[in-house]
Amino acid sequence: MNLKALPQRRRGAEDAQRNAKTLAFPLRCLSLRLCASAVRFFLLAFAAFAISSAPTLADEGGRTARPAIDIANPGKCVAPAEEMRRNHMEMLKHQRDRTLRQGVRGEAASLNACIECHASKQTGSVLGSNDNFCQGCHAYAAVKLDCFECHQPKAGFKAAGVKP
């Protein structure tokens, strides 16, 4: 699975990178998630106002750029790429609820399993740069990624002082 941008779509890739820089980086840095929820909060009180001020994504029309993603271990996924792209969030969400709330272990969908396969060879992580698996696509799609506030994004990570 190679998602590297095609040569003729060079400009699009640059746009994507610029978008990722201007939209996604401050998204983490300035904690735009708070802004987003403040917007949602005011949405309840001042619906009309909020709708008019909600951020809209630039539509690139036909020249759709694709994110450049480096997958360390391709081809071993629990489902075909098309299905994963569309449904990974639903799969993870239902799995997380079953695992945490009911105690079901060993399911096919597992965030840790995603990380083990998809962590970049350079950084050992699914985050860190826009070439890395999770961050790359989420920055491209400008979708907030909330897993790693709590989950460890590095494969095989052991906290300092933990027995091997």
Partner: protein
């Protein structure tokens, strides 16, 4: 992590079925269940790892028995083991803002001067006030009695910390990066002892129990009359902390 069952709905049905079957099993044939788990005394404490795809069973009630007489003064092994197992490593300038999933408490009886110490953690109540007050249902009790925080829906209101009679919960005051993969925890959520749920589900004992050099802590199924912990509780006097509140904690103490 591998799984034999890739169909989530089937897995769910199986999980639900196991839960119901487990309940029926103990109601109808407690003796059989008991035989299934009974082995040598140590291994009987922790049941075998649950089958992949099966849910925690309401027939089980995990608990701890802590013998304060055996707890050695100055020893911090359980605390270190817990905090390293769970990746609780941050050191903030104000120590009151650091998380403590488990702590050592030194007690001196005001009237007699008798002194004891004991480890204190989430008491995994049967009627947990933290679960009652949680506005989103993030604070929850698993079918097998383990009280957890679902950080996916915790909004960080800290009401559970106000409600807990044991000061057992901490609030994560800073962004974290050193989490262990099996123990997610993060800024802005409340957390506490999970009874090492990730180990228990694999059939292991909680880190604190395993680390205690004095053997002062034992872990097991309180509902299973043949488990070492249940036998111990039946034979020696034990107490629940703040038993007057009638919360029925799953952690019991001996020698206080």
């Amino acid at each position: 992590m591998s799984s034999q069952d890739k169909n989530p709905r089937r897995a769910f049905l199986a999980a639900a079925g196991t839960g119901v079957a487990g309940l029926g099993f103990t109601v109808i044939a407690p003796g059989l269940h008991l035989m299934a788990v009974a082995g040598n005394a140590d291994a009987a404490n922790a049941a075998d790892a649950r089958k992949p795809g099966s849910a925690a069973s309401p027939a089980v009630r995990w608990g701890l028995l802590i013998d304060a007489n055996k707890c050695a003064p100055g020893c911090r092994k359980c605390i270190d083991a817990c905090h390293s197992e769970n990746g609780v490593t941050e050191k903030l300038p104000d120590p009151r803002q650091n998380s403590q999933w488990i702590r050592k408490i030194e007690l001196v009886d005001r009237r007699t001067g008798h002194s004891t110490q004991l480890p204190m953690m989430c008491q995994h109540c049967a009627k947990p006030p933290c679960v009652d007050v949680c506005p989103t249902g993030a604070s929850m009790k698993r079918a097998d009695g383990i009280v957890l925080v679902d950080r996916h829906i915790c909004i960080g209101c800290r009401y559970c910390m106000m409600a807990c009679p044991y000061k057992a919960r901490s609030f994560v005051h800073t962004p974290l990066h050193e989490q262990n993969p099996e123990v997610p925890r993060g800024q802005g959520c409340v957390e506490g002892c999970t009874l090492c749920v990730h180990r228990v589900d694999k059939g292991l004992q909680p880190a604190c129990v395993e680390s205690c050099p004095e053997g002062a802590m034992s872990f097991g199924d309180l509902n299973d009359a043949s488990s070492a912990i249940a036998k111990q509780i039946a034979s020696v006097p034990t107490t629940q902390v703040r038993a007057d509140l009638r919360l029925d904690p799953g952690v019991r103490y001996q020698g206080i």
